[in-house]
């Protein structure tokens, strides 16, 4: 964690969110969300989804994760919750899983289709092309994000209603690497590895807003 003390959003207290915990850098996301003040459940099966008001899909190997989502019978329950408006944050492999379309993926790769993007895997190349860089992200206060890209994907097609918050240059073309649509936020890189909490804070604000709306509706 490089950014020092995490600012605790006023809204995070009492929120309960999940991190998909089948494979990947689960621990970093759990640590960051815990430091931001919420209760974190590790999600390995459909029953684990019941109590959570938002879901984080971590970095990892997207082909492995999509297979494990299938065998854990999580694909349909997750799609259903996402369709019903559950906020989500996906980093790297998590971004691939949340997209509607995977370019260059395996034909049987499960996608959750929560944000209308066409995503290309390993877009920068192999591990030798993995890199760190400072990145300006629209709508974030303060310094640029220090972004760690590891065998990272990029967005090649942006659907209707999707906001592009940051892009990088790749072979002369500008490619989106942070996108947002409704309450779904995705990044090609790993803020959980560099320790920058600002995308997680956006996610938690979405969770708080959705939870507040639900509560108001139930009491009306």
């Amino acid at each position: 964690m490089s950014t020092g003390a995490l600012r605790r959003p006023e809204t995070a207290g009492g929120l309960r969110v999940g991190v998909l915990a089948l494979q990947g850098d689960v621990r970093e996301h759990v640590a960051m969300l815990g430091a931001l003040g919420c209760t974190v459940d590790e999600v390995r099966g459909p029953a684990d989804l019941a109590g959570v008001a938002g879901i984080v899909l971590p970095g990892g190997e997207s082909t492995t994760l999509s297979m494990l989502l299938g065998s854990a019978e999580l694909v349909e329950p997750l799609r259903e919750r996402l369709r019903a408006g559950m906020p989500a944050l996906g980093t790297c492999a998590g971004m691939i899983l949340l997209a509607t379309e995977v370019l260059d993926g395996r034909s049987d790769q499960q996608v959750l289709g929560a944000i209308d993007l066409g995503v290309r895997r390993n877009a920068f190349g192999r591990q030798l092309d993995s890199f760190e860089a400072d990145l300006a992200v629209a709508g974030l206060d303060g310094a640029p994000m220090h972004a760690v890209f590891i065998r990272a994907p990029v967005v090649e097609r942006v659907g209707v209603g999707v906001d592009v918050l940051a892009s990088v240059d790749l072979a002369g073309a500008s490619r989106p690497v942070v996108c947002r649509s409704g309450t779904v936020t995705v990044a090609s890189f790993h803020p959980e590895v560099s320790g920058d909490p600002r995308l997680h804070e956006i996610f938690l604000r979405d969770v708080a807003a959705v939870s507040a709306t639900r509560t108001a509706y139930q009491h009306a």
Binding site: Q23, E61, T63, C92, Q127, S130, A133, H190, V193
Partner: protein
Amino acid sequence: MTTDASSRADSTTDEQGRTTGTLRVKRGLAEMLRGGVIMDVVNAHQAKVAEDAGAVAVMALERVPADIRRDGGVARMSDPALVEGIQSVVTIPVMAKARIGHFAEAQVLEALRVDYVDESEVLTPADEEHHIDKWAFRVPFVCGATNLGEALRRISEGAAMIRSKGEAGTGNVVEAVRHLRTILGDIRALATSDSAERYAWAKRLQAPIDLVEEVARTASLPVPLFCAGGIATPSDAALVMQLGAEAVFVGSGIFKSADPPRFARAIVEATAHFRDPEILVKVSRGLGDAMPGAEISTLATKLADRGW
């Protein structure tokens, strides 16, 4: 990760401000492989079987350890054509092995753009005193270790991932358990030591004091700790994960079993759900014969003794 990203690693920054080859990027890929299975494969067909089964990465080599053990002779880095053939058919990371101390083989593997180099005791060592200076490379390295001192010496040389050695090619998990318990037991003991005791720890472990201090403070290695050497069944994978391994390497255990695609899939499921015996029952039922195992005391060569 408490070590600064601006390390001794051979990192370079381009005109767009992108820095490659940093410690954080090297260790980062290992972090992403956590909870997964890295499978030994000897050809493109096996690589596809591994990817289809949900492997997080493959290790490209000419012979699995069981065959290296059977054939004897000098075991070397794989033919570049074999590595390239495997790289061309899978989208997951591809690792390959270099001999201990053989930095020229590692240079070849870096030029082949493999995703990780395994400086491995499974191959015949090229240097009986020196391991590779891994800081001189942009490609990350994984190294084996049988105890905490060995792990910290490899990390001080630049390893970005440690795997407990076990005894490769035996299908016998006993050495993997011994090495994991030794490493993790010493980490637990070190974490409760006082500041004076840490100097004695550094002396006993023959490891740099700064790394000893870091382990004492964090109660974990500075890099991910995976497990290798003798894992042959889904329950073996669950055992080492519960002991504290963060991912597993399976060498001969998949393609020397009766039904490699099913074994591969079952070990992937067991590694992901390592605390769930119900899932272990499901994936283990009717799986067929695991690879034939070997009693450690009957071995002519203990591969784990290679490396220092």
